[in-house]
């Protein structure tokens, strides 16, 4: 066994941080896809991640489906949940205000959490890692193959989203809704469908995050809140509404958490990310890549 130096330890924290940060980045992306189109902060965002992991457990472990079928099936199912969330919890509200929308998404999140508890119970579930658990050694640090899958998926999602929003007509229509919903509907864009699509897309990214993180960190019914709040922290850290900001924010958030847990105190692991979130809110609410002007134009 070779000696673990301080430098390799730091490298290890950094790699772990990037991995968990990639998950936060995906949650943050989910937040801002909905936020950009509807100006709603969906407090149930973390529940998509939990559902992704747990539904995948049913498909692969209980039903014995191969990965290539179970993965898309899980994503589609969680997308349906996302659409239902909008249909049943958000659209029926007659006079939406920031307060009622927050309360409605909180209500939806505890409903989803409760349902997950009834279906799956309170124990955490494990999933098989995509390509085994033989660790790869890199400059003395240990890398699980699943870490590479997580980082790879973040890159894949980033590329797909940027093609979708910049190159496809639907993506451009969604961006138009985000900029100005009234003007968008004047030029013939069906804003209702765009809102539904934003919930579906956001749920899909959440589900992917849940599927790929479960082999590393397990998954249980009540993980939603902490994932949501860290994802939101990542979104604000990068500047709420900015896609590159969300990714950067997520990676920074994950790294801070990993270094904080490793170097300062593992008992306060969850507190570091939250303290960063509060610090950003207090000192620079527009975030690293966000703009204060744009945030002033938002309704809520």
């Amino acid at each position: 066994m070779e000696k673990i130096t301080f430098a390799t330890q730091l490298l290890q924290y950094f790699i772990t941080g990037l991995t968990i940060g990639s998950i936060y980045a995906m949650v943050a992306l989910g937040f801002i896809i909905i936020y950009n189109v509807t100006e709603i902060i969906n407090f149930a965002q973390g529940e998509f991640v939990v559902l992704g992991g747990l539904v995948m457990v049913v498909f692969t472990v209980s039903a014995g489906l191969p990965l290539v079928i179970a993965f898309p099936a899980t994503v589609v199912l969680v997308m349906l949940v996302g659409i239902l969330l909008h249909r049943l919890a958000i659209r029926p509200i007659r006079k939406p205000s920031v307060l009622t929308l927050i309360i409605a998404t909180i209500a939806a999140s505890i409903l989803m959490k409760g349902t997950a508890m009834v279906i799956w119970g309170k124990d955490p579930f494990d999933l098989q890692a995509f390509s085994g658990r033989d660790p790869i050694s890199f400059l003395g640090a240990i890398i699980q193959p699943q870490y590479l899958w997580v980082i790879g998926f973040l890159i894949l999602i980033t590329i797909s989203l940027s093609i979708f929003f910049n190159r496809t007509i639907i993506g451009k229509a969604m961006r138009a809704c985000a900029d100005n919903p009234d003007a968008a509907s004047l030029v013939g864009i069906n804003t209702t469908n765009m809102i539904l699509l934003s919930f579906a897309l956001s749920a899909a990214i959440g589900a992917i995050a849940g599927i790929i993180v479960t082999p590393i960190a397990l998954m249980e019914y009540d993980r939603g809140v902490s994932l949501a709040i860290k994802g939101f922290g990542a979104a604000i850290l990068g500047g709420l509404g900015s896609f590159p900001g969300a990714i950067l924010g997520g990676l920074i958030m994950g790294t801070i958490e990993s270094f904080g847990a490793g170097l300062i105190s593992s008992a306060y692991k969850d507190a570091f990310a939250l303290i960063v979130l509060l610090a950003v809110l207090f000192f620079k609410p527009s975030g690293l890549l966000g703009s204060a002007e744009i945030s002033k134009m938002k309704r809520f």
């Binding site: 049943l88 409760g114 938002k298």
Partner: protein, 317 residues
């Protein structure tokens, strides 16, 4: 909303005073005074929350944290250092007010969902501290040996004595809050709720009023926490978790957050639901709560206290 009738308040007071006597004579109500102590403790918190959410339109998801700060300040100082409980109660309120100022001053300047997330994050941090600072708080196992209250030799040693003590505090907070609502501050709060821009154009110092209400709510929650600690003689962190903050939200959403009565109706109903009527659901009660919150938000935006107004509205049309 502005005028609050005196008659319902008098009836309310009479019912509260007579309740232990009634409960004594109806066997099925035997443990209701005990539940009413909890209902009263929750009322203290929801009254403050109602002012913050219903009147000023700001969300807080960290009332459980202030409730916990009150309970732990009282618990630690009385059980470990033998300090005077009433002094500790005041100290807890002071500390909560200070913390509320530090957290509230920056985050209340922000818009709605930022405040929601900031208070959520703060609540979770405080919960982690309660769990991890084992030397002080006893960690997840909690701390016991918190003495009961006494005043000039009078021992609060029975459920009924605590009942009257807690409800006296509730009544004082209720009257004080009504006075706030009907004062200049109350008008400013409602102006903030309907339009922050218009309010600030009229010269209302928005963030100052929001902070005042936030602190007021924190102080009431802290007082409730101290009373809780002395009543049960035992506290542990799980009482002060995020779900309790959400439960408080459900209380005032169900009761109706735009009227102060709503805070009392909601606290009362949810206490009886969770301690008495929801046992049937066991661990699934969380689904019931989620369902209640969602249905109320969609179909009863003004809560139960808003129903008379709704019926009046139908007849007028």
């Amino acid at each position: 909303m502005l005028r609050i009738n005196k008659l319902p308040i008098a009836i309310f007071l009479a019912v509260i005073i007579c309740f232990p006597w009634i409960a004594k004579h109806i066997p099925a109500f035997g443990n209701y005074p005990d539940l009413m102590v909890f209902a009263g403790i929750y009322c203290l918190i929801t009254i403050g929350l109602s002012l913050l959410m219903g009147y000023a339109g700001q969300i807080s998801l960290c009332q459980a944290a202030f409730y916990g700060i009150g309970a732990y300040v009282s618990g630690i100082l009385t059980a470990r250092y033998g300090m005077n409980p009433w002094l500790c109660m005041l100290l807890g309120m002071g500390i909560s007010a200070l913390v509320a100022l530090l957290v509230g001053a920056p985050s209340l300047k922000l818009k709605g969902h930022y405040l929601g997330m900031a208070t959520l994050a703060f609540g979770i941090i405080v919960f982690i501290i309660f769990n991890e600072e084992v030397e002080w708080t006893g960690g997840p196992d909690g701390m016991s040996g918190i003495p009961g209250l006494s005043l000039f030799g009078f021992q609060f040693d029975s459920v009924n004595k605590y009942y009257y003590l807690v409800w006296a505090f509730v009544f004082a907070a209720f009257i004080f809050s009504i006075n706030i609502i009907q004062s200049r501050t109350g008008r400013a709060l409602r102006a903030i709720h309907s339009s922050e821009t218009a309010a600030s154009a009229m010269g209302v110092n928005i963030s100052r009023f929001k902070i005042i209400v936030f602190i007021y709510g924190a102080v009431l929650a802290s007082l409730a926490g101290s009373l809780y600690a002395h009543y049960l003689n035992f506290i542990n962190p799980s009482t002060f978790d995020l779900f309790f903050s959400i439960k408080l939200l459900i209380m005032i959403a169900l009761g109706g957050m735009h009227q102060i009565w709503g805070a009392i109706i909601g606290a009362f109903l949810i206490t009886f639901l969770s301690y008495e009527w929801l046992h049937f659901f066991g661990e699934f009660e969380i689904i019931v709560y989620g369902g209640i919150l969602l249905l109320v938000t969609i179909f009863l935006p003004h809560g139960l206290a808003g129903i008379p107004g709704m019926i009046k509205g139908w007849f007028r049309n």
